[in-house]
């Protein structure tokens, strides 16, 4: 996106880097050692878990899916290594299941009027559609919080501050703006939502910082926006890649900056390949698309900074964990995030 990133060399030492190399370097080139994220999950393993999940889901008419999802997430989290230590997912199927049960009445209350009301009551149904968009954003934010609190590294867990309801209003407000402007101002809304979300990410007792600086989404947005019609929307994949770079490279926590430089071509190849795999295996290849996604994340996301120094100052936070998770998201059937 913005060509100003300093020459990013291949990570010097993949596994166990970051032993006390002090944070020297120039003022704008915050270049401590670069720690790559490594992933060693095996597609065969994912396939086995996935297939068993599928069978158990059918046998239990879907109830098992909460436990199955958890099992996959545990395996995937464990397969990521940063600076010699693996990530860990501590969520449980029970939490997901109870979260789903809690959210169910709300979902029914929102969707029922759509079914019962005669279609000529448009003001009511339109209002409900807006409400559903709002609930979706709230659900995504709440689910991200659940996942962060259940994801830990070196025994320290993440957290997402802020309010899911406020996030919902931000998304809804800018969504309205995007509709009125035919999407011309999407970078404004993306910046606002990312700033709220990423700025509220915590790791232990340290809050992240989201500072785009001179980065901008405008050039990629405008080019791909004008090309969207002739390319049937495919050009927007390049914008999605730009947003990913923007989101990662603007984020830092405890003196560690994230780095990610995937190109639109690489993202297109990932999505196109996944599409072909799912279509030609009638869905049975889904585990292999998971494997591809994880490899993609590991290949493109790196951590730039003195991890040992950061680790020395990070402590566990005392935030409440919350007893059940991502109910709304599960009930709405959305699935976001990488794990």
């Amino acid at each position: 996106m913005t060509g100003h990133d300093d020459d990013r060399q291949t990570p010097p030492e993949p596994g166990h880097a970051g032993r006390g190399q002090s944070l020297m370097g120039g003022a704008n080139a915050a270049s401590g050692p670069i720690h790559s994220l490594s992933y060693d999950g095996r597609a065969g393993r994912i396939f086995a878990i996935w297939l068993l999940n599928l069978a158990l889901n059918v046998v239990t008419i879907g109830i098992y899916s909460f436990w199955g999802k958890t099992r996959i997430r545990r395996y995937l989290a464990r397969s990521f290594t940063l600076s010699g230590d693996r990530f860990e997912y501590t969520g449980t199927g029970k939490e997901l299941f109870f979260g789903f049960l809690k959210a169910l009445p709300l979902i029914i209350a929102v969707y029922a009027p759509l079914v019962i009301w005669p279609p000529d009551l448009y003001p009511v149904t339109n209002f409900i559609f807006i409400l559903i968009v709002y609930l979706f954003s709230v659900a995504i934010y709440a689910a991200l919080r659940y996942r962060l609190t259940r994801t830990q590294w070196r025994g320290i867990r993440g957290y997402l501050g802020g309010s899911a309801f406020r996030y919902g209003f931000i998304v809804m407000g800018y969504g309205l703006l995007n509709i009125l402007t035919l999407g011309l101002l999407i970078p404004v809304s993306d910046r606002a939502t990312l700033t709220y979300k990423m700025g509220n990410v915590w790791f232990g007792n340290v809050q992240g910082r989201f500072d785009p600086g001179s980065r901008s989404l405008w050039s990629s947005h405008l080019i791909t926006w004008f090309l969207a019609l002739p390319t049937l929307g495919i050009s927007r994949i390049w914008y999605a890649a730009a947003v990913f770079r923007y989101q990662m490279n603007s984020f830092s926590i405890a003196g560690i900056r994230l780095r990610a430089e995937p190109t639109g071509g690489q993202l297109s190849w990932l999505l196109f390949g996944n599409f072909l795999i799912v279509v030609f295996t009638l869905g049975l290849g889904t585990p292999f698309t998971i494997q591809r996604n994880m490899n993609y994340v590991a290949r493109h996301v790196a951590f730039d900074g003195d991890i040992a120094a950061a680790a020395a100052r990070i402590q566990q936070s005392n935030e409440e964990l919350g007893s059940s998770g991502e109910g709304l998201e599960g009930a709405l059937g959305v699935d976001s995030g990488i794990f």
Partner: protein, 368 residues
């Protein structure tokens, strides 16, 4: 035994290199300088992850689930399992032997079969419980969709003939409270169908290819039979319910195409029982209305001569019906019955010309 380990206290992000001593009384952790850091009771230890490939085992404590101890040594893990056979709930154990997996898949197949067989039995009472308002609005949508690009024929005399025929049949129905509304769309196929809410559609080709009003009356009676038994609503309930169930069952499998395909395979057409039911009700109605059910029989016979025994189906409409021979046999049993013609000659000619009047604008269809 003493093995190296890596310890996290759950409070700081600092890893600590430890030496782990295993005795039958418990586990002792010494820090790098040999000072005792902690003693773990065996009964307190929980296994979070088994060692796998080159991944270390991970342990924690029941009394302090925030701590983590990683040990790569497999012998240590075996010892621990032997003397402290405890594991944390949610541990990622995978009993994935092939026979087990095959067993679960077989069980899944049985459940699928049970649902596929049992669900239609459930959809019937559900269809009858659905309020009329819903059925009507669904039916209107279906009918509009089917008529896209076609003209609704409305020559007044033809329409009057058709309406009086359907009213006459309906009056002879076992449950005359049911409302139906018949309309004719221009062109083909040689087909008729019933939508929820008593909305019936006939195509022009069926009327022009029919050999006399009794045949049209036979088809109409059959469709009214469907409407009375609420088969169309049942079909919709089946389709919607099955897609939800399939989606839910597939859980992690987020492929809409698979769900849609499975649902469509399952819900195509009515069951043969439903067709039989519509046949019987239709024939009974015709007799009570004083119309010979022969029309139904001859119509099926002519179709059979032309297309063979429906099953292999050149014609979508008849492919889900009981085999034509079977239906002809059933209906012929009532063949002695002679009634008056379903429509007077003038009415029949008017019905055949129902689409001749092209004054109806297509816009009427476009805007329901």
């Amino acid at each position: 035994m003493s093995v190296p380990g890596r310890y996290f206290d759950g409070q700081t992000a600092q890893p600590q290199a430890v030496t782990v001593h295993f005795t039958k009384q418990g586990v002792r952790l010494d820090d790098a300088s040999g000072v005792i850091m902690a003693r773990w009771l065996l009964i307190d230890v929980r296994i979070l992850e088994d060692p796998e490939d080159d991944r270390p085992a991970v342990y924690t404590l029941e009394s302090n689930p925030a701590v983590r101890l990683q040990v790569s040594d497999r012998a240590f893990h075996r010892n621990l399992i032997r003397y402290a056979p405890l594991s944390a709930p949610g541990r990622a154990t995978l009993s994935l032997s092939l026979p087990a997996l095959a067993g679960w898949c077989a069980a899944a197949a049985v459940v699928v079969a049970l649902v596929a067989w049992g669900y239609p039995k459930l959809s019937r009472p559900v269809a009858h419980a659905i309020p009329d308002g819903w059925r009507n609005s669904i039916g209107e949508q279906v009918v509009t969709e089917m008529g896209r690009g076609k003209t609704e024929c409305a020559a007044p005399e033809g329409l009057a003939a058709l309406t009086s025929l359907s009213e006459r049949l309906l009056a002879a129905a076992p449950d005359p409270t049911e409302q139906v509304h018949v309309r004719v769309y221009s062109g083909g196929p040689v087909n008729a169908f019933a939508a929820p809410g008593g909305e019936l559609v006939m195509f022009e080709d069926l009327i022009t290819k029919a050999d006399g009003p009794d045949e049209v009356a036979g088809v109409l009676a059959h469709e009214i039979g469907h409407a009375i038994h609420r088969h169309p609503t049942q079909g919709v309930v089946n389709a919607v319910g099955m897609s939800v169930i399939v989606q839910f069952m597939l859980g992690g499998l987020k492929s809409d195409s698979v769900t849609t395909a499975a649902t469509q395979l399952y819900t195509m057409g009515y069951s043969r029982d439903a067709e039989r039911e519509a046949d019987q009700t239709g024939a009974a109605m015709m007799r009570r209305a004083g119309i010979s059910p022969n029309g139904m029989t001859t119509f099926f016979q002519r179709i059979q001569e032309r297309y063979g025994d429906g099953d292999e189906g050149v014609m979508g409409y008849f492919s889900s019906h009981p085999s034509l021979s079977e239906r002809i046999d059933t209906l012929s049993e009532q063949a002695e019955f002679t009634g008056r013609p379903a429509l007077a000659d003038a009415e029949w000619q008017a019905l055949r010309a129902i689409c001749a009047d092209e004054t109806v604008e297509e816009s009427e269809l476009q805007e329901p």
